[in-house]
């Protein structure tokens, strides 16, 4: 299933320039004004940049994809021997984790490009589009032919980087990618929900195994208790971080949906305030991620 709907990208770059850009710069004074804009940047786009930056930070959290197969391996370490921890199941989880990681990479690269388009410094924007296209081809969400076409459309003509030009590009980016963003965040969110449950299930199994160990080895209680407390803390942290990732993905999807619905239809100040609201929520989520305790 294609991840990003490149078939929806119908804007023609040449006609775009003819209708929206070149006519605005037919006077020499416009070029002077343009130079001023490029030098001073576009501060009213900062909320959108923050929204993209914070979303990319959340989407780039790798804890869940890394731990998805590892959680089955831990069950084996606890002494569990059922079919759900067979090598086939672990291999399948590893495959799923790779897909999850690729989807996260694509989403993070998209959010980064979203932020990059609005940033004061545009020197890295083309590289961000290249990174986005690499992420979507690595994840087999699009072909290289499709991404080449999209790169032509999205790469920046820095000399035309007025606020109006950026806003138009931004609208195009957000509206075009919104269905894919919604689909990707839902799919990722579902995997995260399953993972959160799986870690909870692991906690329950671990607690049960610890209780049995306590009954069988009463003289080793102090050691068992220390190991149990450390493992409990690690599992709780993993679960809380995964919940944060799930919440962050939901907020990103909601914010992106609202931006797609409003951008170009309301005053840009309203769009910016929507972006700011969700950027703040995403920042709060980012700051709540916790480092894992060191395993004993």
């Amino acid at each position: 299933v294609p991840f990003f709907p490149y078939s929806l990208v119908k804007t023609n770059t040449a006609s775009y320039f003819l209708h929206n850009v070149s006519c605005k710069f037919s006077h020499s004074w416009s070029l002077a004004a343009l130079a001023l804009v490029v030098v001073t940047g576009c501060s009213d786009l900062k909320p959108v940049a923050d929204f993209g930056k914070n979303a990319s930070g959340i989407a780039a959290y790798t804890g869940v994809s890394q731990d998805y197969p590892a959680s089955l391996l831990r069950l084996k370490q606890y002494g569990f021997t059922g079919k759900s921890v067979s090598p086939e199941r672990i291999a399948k989880r590893a495959q799923d984790a790779k897909r999850l990681s690729e989807a996260q990479n694509a989403l993070a690269a998209y959010a980064k490009a979203l932020g990059g388009l609005t940033a004061d410094d545009l020197t890295n924007y083309d590289k961000q589009i290249d990174a986005l296209n690499k992420a979507v081809t690595d994840g087999k969400f699009a072909t290289t032919a499709q991404t080449a076409g999209y790169a032509k459309l999205t790469k920046f003509a820095a000399q035309f980087a007025t606020d109006a030009y950026r806003r138009e590009k931004l609208k195009h980016l957000i509206v075009t990618y919104n269905p894919a963003v919604q689909k990707a965040t839902t799919q990722l969110g579902d995997v995260v929900k399953v993972y959160v449950f799986a870690v909870g299930d692991e906690q329950a199994y671990w607690a049960s195994a610890v209780e049995r160990a306590r009954k069988h080895n009463p003289t080793m209680l102090p050691i068992i208790n220390v190991i149990a407390a450390n493992q409990d803390q690690m599992l709780k942290t993993k679960q809380n971080n995964a919940k944060d990732l799930g919440n962050g993905l939901q907020i990103f999807a909601r914010g992106h949906q609202e931006l797609a619905k409003n951008i170009g239809k309301v005053d840009f100040k309203v769009t910016a305030s929507i972006a700011q609201k969700y950027a703040d929520q995403l920042r709060a989520i980012l700051s709540s991620f916790t480092n894992l305790p060191t395993p004993l």
Partner: protein, 134 residues
């Protein structure tokens, strides 16, 4: 007919997890009083249930339920009855029978065996409320 969603699976698995926890608590409460064979059977039943909950999480999303034969609510009611029984029943053999019937129910769900789900629900209710001896 309805398709089982991720949220459905998590809700069902949470109920089955309560059964797993109740089995574990029964084991702890009765350690030292039950014979080793019974304790081992309880652990085996708990492990079977745990194993099948994991399989449910991996395989049940997208499976079809035929509400005419057995609805999601029927499954939830049967599981709730089993959870109550495991917490209140004292006889170990009966607890193991209930756990076994739950394992069959979970397996029927994730394999998409519609007739099996219906039969397993009946078996769970039978295990929790057996007909009085005559």
């Amino acid at each position: 007919m309805r398709t089982i969603t991720v949220d459905d699976v998590i809700e069902l698995a949470t109920k089955f997890k309560e059964s797993e926890a109740a089995l574990s608590q029964y084991w702890v409460r009765n350690y030292g009083t039950l014979p080793d064979d019974d304790l081992a059977s309880l652990v085996a039943a708990e492990n079977d249930l745990h194993d099948n909950i994991q399989e449910l999480m991996t395989n049940a999303v997208g499976k079809i339920l035929d509400d005419a034969q057995a609805s999601l609510n029927d499954i939830k009611r049967a599981t709730a009855a089993a959870n109550d029984a495991i917490k209140t029943v004292t006889e170990v053999k009966k607890i193991i029978t209930i756990a076994t019937s739950l394992v069959t129910l979970v397996a029927a769900i994730y394999t998409g065996n519609l007739v099996g789900i219906s039969t397993a629900i009946t078996d769970v209710f039978d295990a929790t409320n057996p007909a009085p001896a005559v």
